[in-house]
């Protein structure tokens, strides 16, 4: 079972899959937050995404996956300068990871053995140009959250410790998953995620049986199963690449901008990040569908996942903010 479960073989959970594909098309959307029950395929989807993403070109041996030789940071160990293809990095940030492991620290081994002051890159460096995945993000310790907020915002990791003064690019797509029953996420961190989706277990037996059947086939008839789905995965990968190429030429009419603003005002979302993300997500969605211009339909498709986590929390709203977005969406953009 060395290969992860194929992305296209995940049954249902369309909103989650859509959100992940959108961030693959435009990493600038800024990440996905997946909240939901246990055993609904959150982790499976993230692992599958890693296998689905197109490869990147990077300098061999570069700790921050630089695309060009001149971008390799000065503190890095000498590199050969050869460009290699490697899979898009998807780095796990385990709960309780220490600050040293996340941002990097003095390389103790080299300090002790050779007396050199060298920097050992952390997880943030390895996640550059890729994805940073945090399972149970709502249980993450506060001081790590603060670090992440800062880096996710600036796209740069600055290390000032133990006599080191180092900065390196750390642009990554944040993917978080968690179970809201176990703890809330701070609004500041919520806001850093571009899209948020809520997943729940499928309620009808047919879907559940299908999930089980595929999982069972994956585990016990791996070769045939992977062969069947590899084709679908690669066609999805092709359309992601095509959408990436089409993105710059996509037209955004003024009326769509107006719609974005009207929607965010009606929902009372704080700041302008809501509008910006909504627009980016809508553009990515339009590019994915192969459209020439962004339309209101695209906007409506992505509005729930782009905005539902930016509303002020209402303790009485048992239905969740997703339905609030849907209601206002129907009012503002008929």
């Amino acid at each position: 079972m060395s290969q992860p479960f194929p992305f296209s073989a995940i049954v249902g959970q369309e909103a989650m899959k859509q959100a992940m594909v959108l961030t693959a098309i435009d990493p600038g959307i800024g990440g996905v937050l997946v909240f939901g029950d246990r055993g609904t395929g959150k982790s499976t989807a993230v692992r599958a995404l890693a296998a689905l993403l197109p490869e990147i070109t990077a300098v061999e041996g570069c700790p921050v996956n630089s695309a060009r030789i001149e971008d390799v940071p000065v503190w890095a160990p000498p590199v050969s300068g050869k460009l290699v293809k490697r899979p898009t990095p998807v780095i796990d940030l385990p709960l309780g990871a220490t600050e040293d492991r996340v941002v990097g620290a003095l390389d103790i081994e080299r300090a002790l053995t050779r007396g050199e002051k060298a920097f050992e890159a952390g997880l943030l460096a390895r996640a550059n140009r890729g994805y940073l995945y945090i399972d149970e993000v709502n249980l993450l310790e506060d001081h790590i959250v603060d670090l992440l907020l800062d880096v996710a915002q600036s796209g740069e990791n600055v290390v000032e410790r133990e006599g080191l003064s180092i900065r390196h690019p750390a642009r990554f797509v944040l993917v978080g998953s968690g179970n809201p029953e176990e703890g809330e996420l701070r609004p500041q961190l919520l806001d850093r995620f571009g899209l948020s989706v809520e997943v729940s277990s499928p309620r009808d037996v047919e879907t559940r049986v299908e999930v089980m059947r595929r999982r069972d086939a994956y585990e016990h008839d791996n070769d045939a199963f992977m062969k069947k789905w590899r084709a679908k995965d690669s066609s999805l990968r092709k359309s992601i690449l095509a959408a990436r190429a089409a993105l710059p030429a996509l037209k955004t009419p003024g009326v769509v901008l107006h719609d974005c603003a009207a929607l965010c005002i009606a929902l009372g979302s704080d700041g302008l990040r809501g509008e910006l993300t909504l627009l980016r997500a809508a553009r990515a969605q339009a590019a994915f569908e192969g459209a020439q211009t962004v339309t209101r339909v695209h906007l409506k498709t992505v509005a729930t996942s782009a905005l539902s986590h930016r509303l002020r929390r209402d303790p009485l709203d048992e239905a969740g903010s997703g339905s609030r977005v849907a209601r206002i969406l129907a009012e503002i953009l008929p």
Binding site: R38, T40, G96, E182, S201, V205, V209, M212, L316
Partner: protein
């Protein structure tokens, strides 16, 4: 249908299943106090390594081997337990912190063979984190099994090897997948891991019993072991519950396929019967209660906690640095000092010889500040009765809070909605001034006041403080949350908010300042899980006394 397994047979079967396919089953949740009967189960487990809830990351994931490094003089790294392909046994699993359970869950998802969790929880609330209960396949509760019902378990290694060899060719009946999924859905088990684990258990059990295709009994027993503890059973009276319970019922399958494949399909209700027989009914209730209580608490910051980052220093103590622990350098040197002459290998050596046993770690205790949030009813009705007295009581309490350096926040509700008069502060003067200037009159937007208190409590909690709510009202809430004067809606809103308080676990206190005790307020206090204090004609001094007693100091 054969009889369901007896409790001890169930234990034996579970161990056989675990031994046959540890990586498919993922583990065993063993709920029992330390006892000789538990020892009978644990001695039959596959070879494993033992860990405890306080285990640090270095032991789990590997890191610098301090003892070896210090004695060798150069860096030596150790491999972590998780890197080894051996099952782990987590002792005292009910004390497993969320961080550890998340790491173990990840390990199980990725590569881990299996985890055996010894849950010694005495109370229903004390149990394994749900990240683990969801992933571990088997569940055993030995609490109610008398020792005389148990026998020593001997699993023959040759038989296990033979069963493992058969595992790859063992098949399940065609309909097993559907019927197990249906049963899991009927039991309200949301997670899709559960039926997958049941399938794995059925396969392993069939291999153990040397069945080419799993028999109905085997499927039933597998379901007993893996599903029974996860969900609620539909009522016994409804015989056809399984077919109806899953929302949208599935007529296509039941109508067209059942006649021809009757022999292949185990009727779901038989499976359910087996599960029902497997566990005492109250166990399910207990487990569910535990789940609810657990999920409500979360990992919020709380009262006093020991840490190693900030707060008041405690005496340092021996230990291994790692996972964010910091070395107390002075104490380490002090403990190493007496040994220096003995440790020097040559008389003229000047190097400091430090052993692992010398290392001392810093410890701090940090008490989070308490915030007293007063939600005061300043409506016309209460102004008439005893707003002035309530003000007096708050002033007395403020003085006590000042002495303890508590924070105080003040919310008043009157007219259409609540107003935050004073955000959390330690300033006594300011609070007194705001309080004295608090006018009375207008409607009673009780729900709005509660909502503001709730939001404020959430904010202070996320800043690491411990909020406590003191609600002073005469209970005649007549303004709903949206500002409309509708008594019924107002009461419903207030009740829902009160429940939200309980869900967040925020302690509170409801003080009835009406002339006569209000039954509605007693209900509200019950929904908040807070003490209710009616105060017929009490003076400020007495009110403050009662308040202090209720708040616990």
């Amino acid at each position: 249908m054969t009889d369901p397994l007896t409790p001890w047979e169930r234990a034996e079967t579970a161990l056989a299943v675990l031994a046959t396919d540890p990586s498919g089953i993922k583990g065993l949740w063993l709920r029992a106090r330390a006892s000789s009967i538990r020892d009978r189960v644990t001695q039959a487990l596959p070879p494993h390594r033992r860990i405890h809830p306080g285990i640090d990351d270095t032991s789990l994931f590997g890191g610098v081997d301090l003892a070896a490094t210090l004695s060798a003089g150069h860096l030596i790294r150790s491999a972590g337990l998780l890197a080894q392909p051996s099952p782990l046994l987590l002792a005292m699993a009910e004390r497993c912190p969320p961080g550890l359970s998340a790491r173990l869950a990840r390990w199980l998802d990725d590569a881990g063979p299996c985890l055996i969790a010894l849950d010694e929880g005495a109370e229903p609330e004390e149990t394994l984190p749900s990240a683990l209960t969801d992933r571990l396949g088997l569940f055993l509760d030995l609490t109610d099994i008398p020792y005389s019902h148990s026998v020593s378990i001997q699993l023959n290694p040759a038989e296990i090897t033979a069963a493992q060899a058969r595992l790859a060719t063992t098949k399940l009946p065609k309909k097993a997948l559907e019927s197990i999924t249906t049963v899991a859905a009927a039991m309200g088990i949301a997670s899709l891991r559960a039926p997958l684990l049941t399938l794995a258990a059925a396969r392993a059990l069939a291999a153990w019993r040397a069945e080419e295709t799993a028999s109905d009994d085997t499927l039933r027993h597998a379901a007993e072991l893996t599903l029974a503890h996860r969900g609620d059973l539909p009522e016994t009276a409804e015989q056809d519950a399984p077919q109806e319970a899953p929302p949208p019922p599935d007529p296509a399958e039941t109508d067209s396929e059942q006649p021809q494949s009757q022999d292949e399909r185990i009727p779901d209700d038989i499976l359910l019967e087996a599960i029902r027989a497997a566990l005492p009914a109250d166990l399910l209730a207990r487990l569910n209660a535990g789940r609810a209580a657990k999920s409500a608490k979360g990992s919020g910051t709380g009262a006093a906690r020991k840490g190693n980052h900030r707060g008041r220093p405690l005496p340092s103590r021996p230990g291994t640095p790692g996972s964010g622990k910091r070395i107390d350098l002075v104490a380490t040197l002090r403990s190493a000092a007496p040994w220096q002459p003995l440790r020097r290998r040559t008389p003229d050596a000047t190097r400091l010889e430090i052993r692992q046993s010398d290392l001392r770690l810093k410890r701090y205790v940090e008490t989070s500040d308490r915030v007293l949030i007063f939600a005061v009813d300043a409506s016309g009705s209460s102004a008439l009765s005893r707003l002035a007295e309530a003000k007096g009581a708050i002033e007395l309490l403020l003085a006590a809070a000042y002495a303890r350096r508590d924070h105080v926040a003040l919310i008043a509700f009157r007219g259409q909605q609540a107003e935050l008069l004073l955000p959390p502060t330690r300033s006594l003067v300011q609070t007194k001034r705001r309080l004295a200037g608090l006018p009375g009159g207008g409607g009673t937007p009780l729900a709005s006041g509660l909502k503001m208190a709730f939001e404020l409590a959430g904010q202070t909690q996320s800043r690491g403080m411990t909020p406590t709510i003191a609600l002073l009202t005469d209970g005649r809430g007549n303004i709903a949350l949206d500002g409309t004067p509708n008594r019924e809606m107002a009461e419903a809103d207030a009740l829902r908010l009160a429940r939200a308080f309980r869900n967040l676990g925020i302690p509170g206190l409801v003080i009835d300042i009406a002339n006569r005790p209000q039954p509605g307020l007693r209900l509200l206090a019950a929904a908040m899980d807070a003490p209710y204090l009616p105060l017929p004609r009490a003076d400020a001094q007495r009110l403050s006394g009662v308040l202090q007693a209720a708040l616990g100091d």
